[in-house]
């Protein structure tokens, strides 16, 4: 697998017109779904994934095959998503921190249990409410099927942190889905 990755990267670097498209075709579907769920907007996801692949094209010379090409692309993608979300959250927080102190918290109405078959639509909505770190780990683990070892590489965190973030995400989703 690594050899195939290195060969593909080498072909891209050599200017092989079809090689970069091959790389795109291999990974764009999964990356696009991840980006849509991370940032919550299909339109923004297109722009962001375009930036990711353009950056990948510029940075392929730095790919040494230490990790799989897919993992490397996921890392670039998650870095873009997290930067995008952080910038947006900082601005949103500054904008939406009410200057009057009349903001009130909605009381939570608990229900007994999560339905045995969770609706995918409900889950999609609940995922949008996760904190970004937990959301990233949850999407990579439970949706994309990565192992904690791989998530640690992609997000630049320890395996233990990956496990605790997935746990945090699942518990928060449980709370949201019980409302």
């Amino acid at each position: 697998m690594r050899t195939a990755d290195l060969e593909l990267a080498a072909r891209c670097r050599a200017g092989d017109a079809g090689a970069f498209e091959e790389l795109y075709r291999q990974h764009a579907r999964r990356l696009f779904g991840l980006v849509v769920r991370m940032i919550g907007s299909v339109e923004d996801a297109e722009d962001l994934l375009q930036e990711v692949f353009l950056q990948a094209h510029r940075k392929l010379s730095g790919f040494r095959g230490d990790s799989a090409l897919g993992t490397w692309l996921y890392r670039l993608t998650m870095n873009h998503c997290l930067d995008h979300l952080r910038a947006r959250h900082v601005r949103m927080n500054r904008l939406t921190d009410s200057l009057d102190d009349d903001a009130s918290e909605e009381p939570m109405a608990p229900a007994p249990v999560v339905p045995a078959a969770v609706s995918r639509l409900d889950l999609e909505r609940a995922i949008k409410l996760l904190p970004e770190g937990a959301k990233a780990a949850f999407l990579l683990h439970d949706v994309e099927g990565f192992e904690h070892r791989e998530i640690a590489q992609i997000l630049g965190i320890s395996e233990g942190t990956s496990k605790s973030q997935v746990h945090k995400a699942r518990m928060k989703l449980r709370t949201i889905l019980r409302r």
Binding site: A28, G40, L49, L54, L95, L123, F138
Partner: protein, 237 residues
């Protein structure tokens, strides 16, 4: 209840790791025994399993065919650029509002600095006994110019913000405008009041910052109706 003793095993159990990876672990056997009699843990395992199953079957999002065409076209464009422009990437269009806002802020900073210097001279002249108009606040004009420029940019991009954010923004702007008006009224009552002058400049500065953030946020915002309410609520917490 000893549920908390097994917190660290819960997710491994849901993921099926315990059955393969910890088969010989005594704690796994203990957890299995605990689970058989603990309704709380049974409910938790059932819920987390439902979430995990649903997560693994979420619909696929398919990138539109135009995305590759856009990427290929951008790569072609980049390869035609001089090397120093290639390092900057191809996101020029996304920079335009931010660059415009930054330019306005730089002009504002220069104006305020110049006004501040002018004010120091006037203060020195006043101390020396010469008369000057105490009501005028030169820096205010520079803030007003910056606000006018930013307001134009913000108005043009306002529609890209989700309604909830727009509502809070409008409310915050109204609060700032009220503070500006109150400071101006106080200055009319007491033209030489340093406190009123500082309050006015603070309020104007806050308005500039808010509008600057609005422009920046609007330029990278991609609101869709279905994602607005929850996300905005979360950010407000």
């Amino acid at each position: 209840m000893s549920c908390e003793l097994y917190d660290d095993l819960l997710d491994d159990y849901v993921d099926g790791v315990l059955a393969t990876g910890h088969g010989s672990d005594g704690r796994f056997a203990a957890f299995a025994q605990h689970l058989a009699v603990c309704g709380h843990c049974q409910a938790l395992v059932a819920d987390l399993t439902s979430i995990r199953v649903a997560a693994s079957t979420l619909d696929e999002h398919i990138p539109p065919p135009r995305l590759w065409a856009r990427i290929a076209s951008s790569i072609d464009e980049q390869q035609r650029l001089p090397w120093w422009q290639r390092q900057l990437g191809g996101a020029y269009s996304a920079w335009v509002p931010a660059v415009a806002a930054a330019s306005i802020i730089m002009l504002l900073a220069a104006g305020v600095w110049s006004a501040w210097q002018q004010r120091r001279v006037e203060t020195a002249q006043q101390a020396a006994g010469s008369l000057s108009d105490p009501v005028s606040v030169p820096a205010e004009q520079h803030y007003e110019q910056a606000i006018a420029g930013l307001q134009l940019l913000a108005d043009a991009q306002n529609a890209t913000l989700d309604p909830e954010t727009r509502a809070v923004l409008t409310k915050n702007l109204a609060v700032i405008d009220r503070a500006i008006n109150e400071s101006r009224a106080a200055l009319v009552q007491e033209p030489a009041s340093t406190l009123a002058q500082e309050s006015l400049l603070d309020a104007l500065e806050t308005k500039v910052a808010l509008l600057q953030d609005t422009v920046a946020l609007a330029s990278d915002s991609g609101w869709t109706p279905e994602d607005a309410p929850g996300a905005a609520k979360e950010l407000n917490q």
